[in-house]
Amino acid sequence: MKKYFSFFRLRLVTGLQYRTAALTGVITQFFWGFMNIMVFHAFYKADPSAYPMTMEATAAYVWLQQAFLSFFGAWIEGEILYTISSGDLAYELCRPIHIYDMWFARSVASRLSKAILRCVPILVVAVFLPRGYGLGLPVSFPAFLCFLVSLTMGLLVMVALNMLVYGSCLYTISADGMRVLFASLSDFLAGQVIPLPFFPEKVQRILELNPWASMGNVPFRIYGGDLAGSEMLQAMVLQALWLVILAAAGRLLFAGGEKRTVIQGG
């Protein structure tokens, strides 16, 4: 276990070095968050009764989404793909470690390091914005705890899904196809473009079952009180279920991939 933690730590430390990237990220996400909230306000003013969430919950959703963008962003770790396509994988295979676990730890750390640098300024400012525009306090303390648990599970589900993309790359060499497919599907299905409650009800019911809905969708809505009670529990169980299924599938994929991998070139 310690070796995987070391991986986690080193990747985290590496990620914390990139300060300029973090600063520009924060600025972009502020603007994006404001723009989003303005658009949602326009909808809200047009017809408050047809609006599927409260304005406070929507604002909380948007700011949390911006603060934790790196948790649920649809990107694929370029570093890891490069390791595969360049053949540096040879060195990784020469280590007494499980590739799946190592990359899992590494991906979690990389997303976490980005979030650590970016989330604090965004959250602090968002808390001081006026009601309906900013990030209010969580609806209750238990809800806040559920938010934390669900946020963690969401991150793990995202990484487990990423791992499937890396795993497929062990078979195809170039991951560009998978990458584009993943990125375009992911943002939409995960409610990163618009929150899932804004979809028509029938579509929403189907979308909520897919693994992407088990990422940011659950914790962000718990925080604002949009998801509570038995509905919330169901959503969290589904998160855990997806995590188990995706991780098992990923391990299988890697077990096969490691055997047939050929490191090309001299």
């Binding site: 080193l10 540096d88 295979l93 020469c94 280590r95 007494p96 490691e258 490191i263 001299g266």
Partner: protein
């Protein structure tokens, strides 16, 4: 001790002629050519030997190293390293799992340097990569500090350890790479072109170090290279491979017979074997 018996490996390579029409045709019908990278390779290497594994480009050197280091699966044949059975056995039938040494168990005991790749983390100081390796191999504190001290002195690492990898010159980086592969005191060291691209001073430093390592710790060293001076300085035994077959297994003297200039002698030898 390392033994390879009748190891074969072939690759499938997609081929087509130049041109748009050909590329379009290849969309529907791909033609593959089977390349036999290794054909019935067999040899035995005793503990503490320093073996130079040479041959022209594409002869199968790297494939052999990759199979021995557990990262490439051969098509058939038996491979045993220090009593650990890697890969499959008789008649291409896979060994049952508990008869076979797993990749993880095997790689714990060996060190590998691929001259053309890097194992150090690019953006952080070298010492961070070393600390990570310490945890990966579960190296005890005392062993780690002893090894680090020794390697730092012999390879003259000193200040380099605090420098991010990306800011090292190739020669500096290679010294760090070699140190990284030896932190866990492996009994066997595979070096795949360790002196590629290095200047004279760095080459000499690397050679001296490998020689000392072998003499002091009895580490078995298997070295592939195109640099005949590496071989002259290091290898007591030479295995020549070409077109996937072992053509010669002998000493430096066996190759030297032709004359004093090693490169010319070797080129002559390659020509005589038509490789």
């Amino acid at each position: 001790m390392i033994t390879m018996e009748n190891v074969c490996k072939s690759y499938r390579i997609a081929k087509r002629n130049a041109g748009l029409a050909e590329a379009f045709r290849a969309l529907f019908q791909k033609e593959y050519e089977e390349i036999h990278a290794l054909k019935n390779i067999s040899f035995t290497i005793r503990d503490g030997e320093m073996v130079g594994y040479i041959g022209p480009n594409g002869a199968g050197k790297s494939s052999t190293i990759k199979i021995l280091s557990g990262i490439l699966t051969p098509d058939s044949g038996q491979v045993t390293v220090d009593g650990r059975r890697l890969w499959n056995s008789h008649g291409g039938q896979p060994l049952r799992k508990h008869d076979r040494c797993s990749r993880i168990e095997h790689v714990r005991q060996i060190g590998v340097v691929f001259g053309q790749r890097s194992q150090l983390w690019w953006d952080v100081p070298v010492i961070d990569s070393f600390e990570l390796l310490k945890d990966i191999y579960s190296i005890s504190d005392s062993l780690y500090h002893n090894n680090l001290e020794e390697l730092t002195e012999l390879l003259n690492l000193g200040e380099l350890l605090k420098t991010p990898t990306r800011q090292l010159s190739l020669g500096q980086r290679m010294r760090c790479e070699i140190a990284a592969s030896l932190l866990h005191s492996p009994k066997i060291l595979f070096l795949d072109e360790p002196t590629i691209g290095l200047d004279a001073v760095s080459k000499l430093a690397v050679r001296d170090f490998i020689k000392q390592l072998n003499q002091k710790h009895g580490t078995t060293v298997i070295l592939t290279t195109h640099d005949m001076q590496d071989i002259e300085a290091l290898a007591s035994r030479i295995i020549l491979i070409g077109k996937g077959q072992i053509l010669m297994d002998g000493t430096l003297e066996d190759i030297r017979q032709g004359g004093e200039n090693m490169d010319e002698t070797l080129a002559e030898l390659y020509r005589s074997y038509e490789i």
